[in-house]
Structures are given as structure tokens and as C-alpha cells.
């Protein structure tokens, strides 16, 4: 079960951890992704705050937190090979977070 923001990020909750990624739509719109800017482990962000950026040949976009939390892991493979995101955006998470509040899921779209 994924929850989607209006800005095309998704969040998937698995117990005390949650993973955040980009929607298929966003990735298709961007085209071939050439670069991803991700935060460091330990960084904290509020819901709606920009935590990174994704860049393709024709566009660059900030990525926003669907819910607030602390970053506990970052998908290093994507930094080295951003094209992995084009291949399967739903399989590739951007970051894993903890210490979030499930109440913040309420205004997101369930899919």
C-alpha cells in the first residue's frame, strides 16, 4: 500500500520504517534521469520539506517529504546509477526513514 503526494512522491510504511520514492508518472515525465541528489543518514526533515533533487536532461525537480522523519538509509545504488530509477521507479526507494507520525499519511492518496 503506497501513499502518494500531489508532487508525485510515494511513501510505504513497513512497521517502524518507511520508504520514500518517486511515482511512475514523475519518472516518465522527467525522461532519462542523469543525476540524483540525496541527503545524508541522520538528516531530519518535516513533511513537505525538500530533501533532495532529481535531474534529467530537460528538467530538474526538488523532491519533497511525504511525511516527516529521520533518514536512516539512502539508496547509494541510485547515486551511482540514476538510470535504475527509470527502469523501475516503484522498486527503487530513495530513502528510508524512521520516527515518523502515521497521522501525516491522512491527506495522501492511497493506492
Amino acid at each position: 500500500m503506497r501513499y502518494y503526494t500531489k508532487t508525485d512522491e510515494w511513501v510505504k510504511v513497513e512497521g517502524l520504517k518507511a520508504t520514500v520514492g518517486l511515482s511512475k508518472h514523475a519518472v516518465t515525465e522527467l525522461g532519462d534521469i542523469v543525476f540524483i541528489d540525496l541527503p545524508s543518514v541522520g538528516d531530519t526533515y518535516k513533511k513537505g520539506e525538500a530533501f533532495g533533487a532529481v535531474e534529467s536532461v530537460k528538467a530538474a525537480s526538488d523532491i519533497y517529504m511525504p511525511i516527516g522523519g529521520v533518514v536512516v538509509s539512502v539508496n547509494e545504488a541510485l547515486i551511482a546509477s540514476p538510470e535504475l530509477l527509470n527502469q523501475d521507479p516503484l522498486k527503487q526507494f530513495l530513502i528510508e526513514i524512521e520516527e515518523f507520525n502515521v497521522v501525516e499519511l491522512e491527506d495522501l492518496k492511497k493506492e
Binding site: 532519462d32 542523469v34 543525476f35 535531474e55 534529467s56 536532461v57 540514476p82 538510470e83
Partner: protein, 478 residues
């Protein structure tokens, strides 16, 4: 044959391209820890250098080569006399910190150009310092901010920009510290008045507009826009990128604009140089003269002197701007004079409408009304074979024509913006029209040849994804 050598690949140790001797070794008197050990620059002879850059130039296409209808860029003929005047030794050999008494000629050029541009645009005074259109925009926005600050009006934190605007407009507004709010456009790209009324408030510092707009359509409600913005204490800023259409028919100063920037490399024929140097002079109404970036040139009895305006936004470049480009501007305006400047708009707009009528059967025309100096198509009329604007542009290269601007303005998905400037003849336009029709035909009957174009250029389509994913940005990365 593709000339494919980099200057670094022509190098051979001990070759020289200069004849400077140094019999001394005085640099060794400096502390050793300040000096470098090694400098890896190519060692080539003078003939090597000349042959190399001559061959490199042949991989380029300029206005002098052929038709260059880049919308929004006004690629008109660059008169060679202007280059010659800029290299007169009295201009090119003059140090910028030469006292006024010995640089009256340079100051006269600046003052004359300022006055002539003021007359052409209906403004009161110009600063010639901004190095480019984008810097002119930034300067204009800084003037707006300074003005409101000095008036004590500190709650104006926003700038209105049409959603059809060129990317530099919102970027400049951001760099100037403003929040950008977009006003909706009508279907023809003109500002939606109702939408503007809703957005305008006493928190808005001003509005940035270009007229004609980025779709080549004249903002006929400009006087209403002036009323709405001025009515709540905001200022009107004019992006002069499209001024070519108005020469002889309208002056921005009479349309209510408080600040104007011009692109002399567009409207005033200075060469684009592959991307610069150009210049973006900024003109203002009388009320804003004291906010211009300093120093400006004024007359003191019979002499020209520098003057720093009382509330100046400050200096925006080490010296006075791209002086050599201003000399060219001065020379162009004098060559055309009143009689010919007043005809520029006529021929530019005639050309664009001729293209519009001639291509509307093959290319989708989203706006039917009379256009100004440029016309926007939304790709091919018949999109059934999947040929995109990008493909059409690449196929034009095979026919020896520089493509129009593509994918801008962003109001349409397959934008193709054609600006056939006033120095282009009917023959050139007819030739372009027949090529465009030919490509439309190919798109229907042989789409593959269009989709895989270009075929006859020195290089084919480039892998831009590779360039961005694995950046190799200097020779040692090669």
C-alpha cells in the same frame, strides 16, 4: 570530413607560437612556495593555431552562413562597419581608468547611445552597464526593490510574471530576492486581466512583461494592465527581447513601463558571438534615474562626466559594461537613422505574417490572429506518424537552415517559434517555406528519414544523456 582535433592533441614539446624572449630568470627571486612547478598547456606553432581554429570555425553556422530564424533571438545581419568602428585604436586602446579629460570620446559614445536609446524607447535615461539581457533584468528588478525600499514600502515581496515568460524572468526575480507569482495567460498568451486583478495587491512590487509577448502577440490590454499595477503602487518592467516588432510603431515608455531593458545583440544588430558578449542596457523614467547602477554619464557644461546616482543600486560590473558592444550599437543606430529605424517593425512583422500564412496548412497554428515579429506553431498539423518538433528541427539542418526555436514557449507541447527578421528577403522566406513543406510531406510519407535526422551534418544526433550521466568537462577527462 569531420575535423576532429583538440588543440591539446596538436601539441609537441618545445614548439612555440610566440616570440617573447626572456634572458632573465628574475621570477626565481620570489619565494619558491609561491611558484608553480608545472603548467600543462599545449605547445603549438602559430600556423598550427590558425589552421586549428579555422577548421573549428567551419563546423559552425552563423547568420552570415544562412537563414537563422530563431524565435526571440532576432538574428539580423551584423554590419561589418560596426566591428571596424569598435576596433578604432582610440576606443580599443583606452584604459577604463583614464581620467575624464582624456576619455571624452568614450564618454560621448556612452552618452549619445544613452540618449538615442531613450528616444527610441520613450524612456528618460539609460545605464549601459548591464552585460547581457539577463543582467539587465536583474538590474531592473534591483531598481524596483531599491525604489520601494527608499519609499519606505517594505511589504512588497512579490513580482508577477506571466506563465508564458522566458525562464530568465522568474530566475532574475528570485536572484533579486523576490517571490515569483505567475499570472495566467489567455489562449493567445496575453495576460488574463481578471487573473491579474486577483493577484495584484500592495504586496506586489511590480510585473515583468514582454510586449509583444513570447508568442509574438501584442498585449492589446497593456494600458489596462498599467492601470491595475500602477493603481496599487506597483511598477511595470519591460523585457525588451521583442522590441524589434515595435520600432516605428510604439515606444514602451508610452505604454506605461517604468523600467526597460534592451538586448542590443538582438534589436541593435551587435554580433551574438556564439553566446556573447552582448549588452542589456536598462532605461528608466525620470522618477527612477537616481536608482540606476553607477556610474552613468551626464553632461557638465560642455564636458561629459561620470555621475553616481543618489540612490544607486550600486555597481554591477568592475567598469562600465561591454563598451566595445556599445560602440557597435551607436554605429548601427547612426547608420539606420530615423528613416530606417522606423521601418524595422514594418518589415519584421510583414515577414512573420507571411510565414504564418504560408505554413498554416502544414503546421498547427494555435493562434489565428495577426502576429507581430515572430509566429508560433504547435508542431505538425498531421501528427499521425509520430514526427515531433525536435525531428523537424533536426531535418532542417540537412537542408542548410538553422532551426527555429523549439519547445519554447512552454504553453504548447510542440512549440516551433519562427522569427524571420527584417534583413531577410522574400526569396529566403520562400525557400524556407518550401523546405518546411517538404519536411511536412516527408513526415507523412517517409517519417523515418525525419525521425533519424540530421544525416548530412558533421555529427548526427548527440547522446545528451551520456553527457549528463558521465560528465567529461575538460581535456584531461577525455
Amino acid at each position: 570530413m569531420l575535423y576532429d582535433k583538440l588543440i591539446f592533441e596538436l601539441s609537441s614539446p618545445s614548439r612555440v607560437g610566440h616570440d617573447l624572449k626572456h634572458e632573465t630568470n628574475n621570477l626565481s627571486k620570489l619565494p619558491a612556495n609561491l611558484l608553480r612547478d608545472n603548467l600543462d598547456l599545449p605547445e603549438v606553432t602559430e600556423p598550427d593555431v590558425v589552421r586549428h581554429y579555422t577548421n573549428v570555425s567551419m563546423k559552425n553556422f552563423g547568420v552570415d552562413t544562412g537563414f537563422y530564424p530563431l524565435g526571440s533571438c532576432t538574428m539580423k545581419y551584423n554590419p561589418k562597419i560596426n566591428d571596424q568602428m569598435a576596433s578604432l585604436s582610440g576606443f580599443s586602446g583606452l584604459h577604463p581608468l583614464t581620467p575624464n579629460s582624456a576619455s571624452q570620446g568614450a564618454l560621448q559614445i556612452l552618452h549619445e547611445t544613452d540618449s538615442m536609446l531613450a528616444e527610441i524607447t520613450g524612456m528618460a535615461k539609460f545605464s549601459l552597464a548591464p552585460f547581457a539581457g539577463a543582467q539587465g533584468e536583474l538590474t531592473g528588478l534591483m531598481i524596483i526593490k531599491q525604489y520601494h525600499t527608499v519609499q519606505g514600502d517594505l511589504k512588497r515581496t512579490k513580482i508577477i510574471v506571466p506563465d508564458s515568460a522566458h525562464g530568465t524572468n522568474p530566475a532574475s526575480a528570485s536572484v533579486a530576492g523576490y517571490e515569483v507569482i505567475e499570472v495566467k495567460s489567455n489562449l493567445d498568451g496575453t495576460v488574463n486581466i481578471e487573473s491579474l486583478k486577483e493577484l495584484m495587491s500592495d504586496e506586489v512590487a511590480g510585473i515583468m512583461l514582454t510586449n509583444p509577448n513570447t508568442l509574438g502577440i501584442f498585449e492589446k490590454d497593456i494600458l489596462k494592465i498599467r492601470e491595475i499595477v500602477h493603481g496599487q503602487g506597483g511598477l511595470l518592467y519591460y523585457d525588451g527581447a521583442n522590441l524589434n516588432a515595435l520600432l516605428g510603431h510604439a515606444k514602451p515608455g508610452h505604454m506605461g513601463f517604468d523600467i526597460v531593458h534592451l538586448n542590443v545583440h538582438k534589436t541593435f544588430s551587435t554580433p551574438h558571438g556564439g553566446g556573447g558578449p552582448g549588452a542589456g542596457p536598462v532605461g528608466v523614467t525620470k522618477a527612477l534615474i537616481e536608482y540606476l547602477p553607477g556610474p552613468i554619464v551626464v553632461k557638465d557644461n560642455d564636458a561629459f562626466v561620470f555621475y553616481t546616482p543618489k540612490h544607486s543600486i550600486g555597481r554591477i560590473g568592475t567598469f562600465y559594461g561591454n563598451f566595445s558592444v556599445i560602440v557597435r550599437t551607436n554605429s548601427y543606430i547612426k547608420t539606420l537613422g530615423k528613416n530606417n529605424l522606423e521601418n524595422v517593425g514594418n518589415y519584421a512583422v510583414l515577414n512573420a505574417n507571411y510565414i504564418k500564412e504560408s505554413l498554416k496548412d502544414d503546421y498547427l497554428l494555435p493562434i489565428e490572429t495577426v502576429c507581430m515579429h515572430e509566429v508560433v506553431f504547435d508542431g505538425l498539423k498531421d501528427k499521425s506518424t509520430g514526427v515531433k518538433t525536435l525531428d523537424v528541427a533536426k531535418r532542417l539542418l540537412d537542408y542548410g537552415v538553422h532551426p527555429p526555436t523549439i519547445y519554447f514557449p512552454m504553453l504548447f507541447h510542440e512549440s516551433l517559434m519562427v522569427e524571420p527578421v527584417e534583413t531577410e528577403s522574400k526569396e529566403t522566406l520562400d525557400h524556407f517555406i518550401s523546405i518546411m513543406r517538404q519536411i511536412a510531406l516527408e513526415a507523412r510519407e517517409n517519417p523515418e528519414i525525419v525521425k533519424s535526422a540530421p544525416h548530412t551534418t558533421v555529427v548526427g544526433r548527440l547522446d545528451e544523456v551520456l553527457a549528463a550521466r558521465q560528465p567529461r568537462l575538460k581535456f584531461k577527462d577525455n
